[in-house]
Symmetry: C2
Subunit: 303 residues, 2 copies
């Protein structure tokens, strides 16, 4: 089952060197979620072959322009291209006001349902729950109300051992029960043992998005043991004063967070425009947490 | 004296095929004016080597997203990069409200003066006048209040005939007077004739921007005899019904406008996403007005 993230933008506030403001697409079992929507997101979606009308949910972390300014354009283009399916938007409450005023003056009436879910930057909340996925928002520590988002896969099924199933000619009506760990008995009295015919269910996977934030705040408890952690690394640690002042994180700090929460892998991003070459940021983070990677625009990362 | 326009975006509402929403930079004697500011304009400015802090005036035609959604990002980036010089913004009054609400929620305080000049979409108005340039806004006919902009160069000076000036060793104190057509007499009684020592002043040049609009409305009188006319050509004429319905123009109609007003040259733009290949639009317009050109992003056009 697919669970991977495409980076559309990994620049901090001033987009430079062909890097774009924050945005990414999470593909969970062919359901598409957009996380943040900086200026130019609709063009990036087009560039990387993502059909925007397949996006079902959008999550906006906070109301700094580099995280949401592409939204009005994207919502309008979805409208122009005839979108009919509903779209869920999770964002700080004030975004509704910002959208409404712009739709009012451009005389835009959306022909699809835009369902607005205000986020709570004060405490963690489960904001979406299906059998297969739970999405939680949690507080980040930035200059304006900001949340991160965590995506937890639901309990996964055991997988059948095909060769054994075929050899014993197990009736297909039993297969889903076996995957759930239930033994079955055939009409002829044959016993089919789930533990013998299946491999244990793979561990459920999780992804967390932390941008923008000062490192080490209340969010630490919310991102324990994530498999893939996208954490902003705006500055090198030599600029930690600037990071504190602007409520951002250094590469070293992000790596320390990854270490502390027991993350599987750290994905860096939200690079300051002062760094054309990102290698020093990577080197710094890897010195603390070796399974660290620079996010690259246009690239998919497995959760 | 430079008078030319750089196309940053020539797409209609849905940006596609690497075409960007409307925006252009007018360079008048090294003073930079930005006309419209669709999503991604700040990235386009960076791509084509334009220093955004050199832009002194911004003109926004109307409040459809593809003409202004890049503005908040651009203004914020100017702020982050330490802009101090004042910036004049000419736009429909409601844009002030749209900017204010976004600056409020992003907790942005501009450290430069943004001077807002509401435009009047009801009648032509001179909105900027210097010795060297007059800018006029005028009504276009679109679904929301919209203005076009006309830039008229002031009276130009005669140019000196260098060889004659040098041969007669004309005192330099006389040069500016001669350029203004005033004869001068030296201390030794020598008479320097302006008509003999100068070439006649070149004709003053003019540029008009018409996007978005239904063709043939009140604006015809405002764009008489412009040297360069940028006129939207959203559709082929076979889609004139759609053009009427959406208050846009066809390539044929734009060419008829250019012919009727006695324009020197027609520059096409605001292409619908339905046209990947733009040749049919050009062919159609040229059938009526031969000095027609497709605007290309990243290209400068002399006025």
């Amino acid at each position: 089952m697919r669970f991977e993230v495409l980076i559309l933008g990994n620049s901090s506030a001033t987009p430079m060197y062909e890097r774009h403001p924050s945005s990414q697409v999470l593909n969970f079992n062919e359901q598409l979620f957009l996380i943040d929507c900086g200026e130019g997101t609709q063009m990036q979606l087009f560039r990387y072959g993502i059909k925007s009308n397949k996006i079902s949910h959008i999550f906006i972390s906070h109301l700094h322009g580099d995280h949401y300014l592409g939204l009005v354009g994207l919502l309008s283009s979805m409208n122009l291209s005839g979108r009919k399916s509903e779209l869920h938007l999770y964002a700080p409450a004030a975004l509704k006001e910002i959208l409404d005023i712009q739709f009012k003056y451009s005389d835009t009436i959306l022909r699809y349902d835009l369902i607005f879910h205000p986020t709570n930057s004060e405490k963690p909340e489960i904001i979406l729950q299906t059998k297969m996925l739970t999405v939680t928002s949690f507080s980040l520590r930035h200059r304006v109300p900001t949340t991160g988002f965590r995506f937890d896969e639901g309990k996964r099924s055991a997988s059948l051992i095909r060769e054994k199933i075929e050899k014993l000619n197990v009736p297909t009506v039993f297969l889903s029960q076996l995957k759930r760990g239930v033994d079955c008995i055939g009409t002829d009295g044959t016993r089919y043992s789930a533990s013998e015919l299946t491999l244990p269910a793979p561990r459920s996977r999780s992804y967390a998005y932390c941008s923008d934030t000062r490192a080490f705040a209340s969010y630490i408890s919310a991102i324990q043991h994530v498999d893939l952690l996208y954490h902003e690394t705006t500055f090198l640690h030599e600029m930690v004063d600037r990071a504190e002042e602007t409520f951002h994180s250094t590469a070293l700090e992000a790596a320390e967070v990854a270490l502390q929460v027991g993350a599987g892998k750290l994905l860096m991003g939200h690079y300051s425009a002062r760094y054309r070459d990102l290698t020093p940021l990577l080197t710094e983070a890897k010195s603390k947490f070796s399974n660290t990677h620079l996010s690259e625009e246009g690239k998919w990362y497995l959760v």
